[in-house]
């Protein structure tokens, strides 16, 4: 990991190394963007839409996205559904167990800011952005599969702009 990160530093010392780094950038970011394995994480209503998006009509697999049950092997948490105060530490734990580079999509109003449970609820976490860093927010209650796909494409665009040194 560390080696790949330092690769551009070494490569640029050679003549023509810049071209290599640029094309490496391209290959690495493209491959990351086109193989986002998402964690099977759904809590509430949005999980049903997440399942529907994975099913035949919308088909997540077209984008190269398949689900993994283990956080170690996934690149992306689609936080689908309400995160309560009791669940919040678990979400953080799952995020911590994932391997870098990792991304988070906040799917649905509840994960964005508490959604319909913002007022008068003593148990709902009002937005997951103070538990884990969020890359893409998808509003909706629940968002349609089309908007989920759009959110994933937005995330892909975001990843494709990354350079080798940019990873956290």
């Amino acid at each position: 990991m560390g080696l790949i990160k330092k690769l551009p530093v070494y490569l640029e010392k050679f003549p023509g190394g810049g071209i290599v780094t640029t094309s490496l950038d391209y290959v690495f970011s493209q491959s990351q963007a086109s193989s986002l394995w998402y964690l099977l994480f759904g809590t509430a209503c949005c999980a049903i839409e997440l399942m529907a998006t994975g099913a035949s009509r919308y088909d997540f697999d077209r984008l190269g996205m398949i689900f993994r049950a283990s956080p170690r092997q996934s690149d992306l948490i689609i936080a689908a559904g309400t995160i309560t105060k009791k669940m919040a530490p678990r979400l953080r734990l799952l995020y911590d167990q994932m391997a870098e580079p990792r991304y988070v999509i906040a799917m649905g109003g509840c994960t964005v800011k508490g959604g319909p449970f913002y007022y008068d609820s003593y148990a709902v976490e009002k937005g997951i952005n103070h538990i884990v860093p969020v890359d893409v927010y998808i509003p909706g209650c629940p968002p349609r599969p089309e908007s989920l796909l759009e959110g994933c494409l937005t995330l892909q665009k975001k990843i494709k702009k990354l350079k080798i040194g940019d990873w956290s």
Binding site: F41, T43, C45, I48, S56, T84, R90, L94, D120, P142
Partner: protein, 369 residues
Amino acid sequence: MTQGLRTEEFLVNMGPHHPSTHGVCRFLLTMDGEVVVKAVPYIGYLHRAIEKICENRTYAQCIPIIDRFEYCTSMSCELAFCLATEKLAGIKVPERAEYLRIIMVELNRIASHLIWFGTTSLDLGAITPFLYGFREREDILDLYEMTCGQRLTYNYIRVGGVSRDIPSDFIPKTKAFLEKFPEKVEDYVRLLNENPIWMVRNQKVGVMSAELALSYGVSGPALRASGVKFDIRRDDPYSIYDRFDFEIPTGTNGDCYDRYLVRLEEMRQSAKIVKQAIEQMPEGEIKTKVPTNFKPPKGEVYSRIENSRGEMGVYIQSAGDSKKPLRLKLRGGSFNQLQVMPEIVKGGKIADLVAVMASMDIIMPEVDR
């Protein structure tokens, strides 16, 4: 079996994030190898305080929140709440609205059972039926979308009727769906019913006796699979269910396989009810005029309907001088079905726990609220 060999039980924490717990249930399992010695469910990971929220909303504002109480069958939840409110306030519903409600609710039951069918087969390792179930469900969602514009949480059934009339091509499309749906069910039957692996995984697994089920308040298909012919649609008829002709499938053994068969048959029966409702539906009004901030008289009511997961009950207490309910309590079938789980998975394998959980069709928001 293990004489002379020292063995030790160990604890496995299954959930709250686990692929088979349908959301966020957590089981603390005491295991002896692969055998579950004791299973303790821990819930509350999706406790969203829906009841507290509803106490601070007007009756009309409650409906979208209650949609999210049980998102697989939002229509039934709306119906349960509206029936309770109408009972409380003594509101009469127009004929056409009653029929529209029945059509929507029964289609919703099919959609919910299709989700159950998909996830159950997924939990038992068969991935393809999952996608087949969701394929048919999309057709139902199309019908909903053309009626009320939403796929999952509809806010369609209102106090006093329904929010809008169906579009003109709803009836032909529903008929087309009902035409092809029984064939699809036959596909599932061919795919799984006689499949030897499916049979050994489900038969004699998670046996629940009728007494156990009743004492724990288990209702719906899970209760009927244990041999108790009890369906609120027939035994405590609400809305206009007494006008339809349908059968109540029951099982004999109370195992996972019976629960599977009962649900498959229920899908067919629901299709039958929708067909009858379409034929009988009159023209006319779809909504009784109810003021937005109406105040029901002082009183309390517990009203229940047959949801796809069992008895869905709504208890409302009204103070009489307020446009908000004083107390609203929702009762979901899964709450009791999860409660009985430790009793029936004891002594089974960890794979049986998954099978039982799937066949009970537990959905966590109904438990946690």
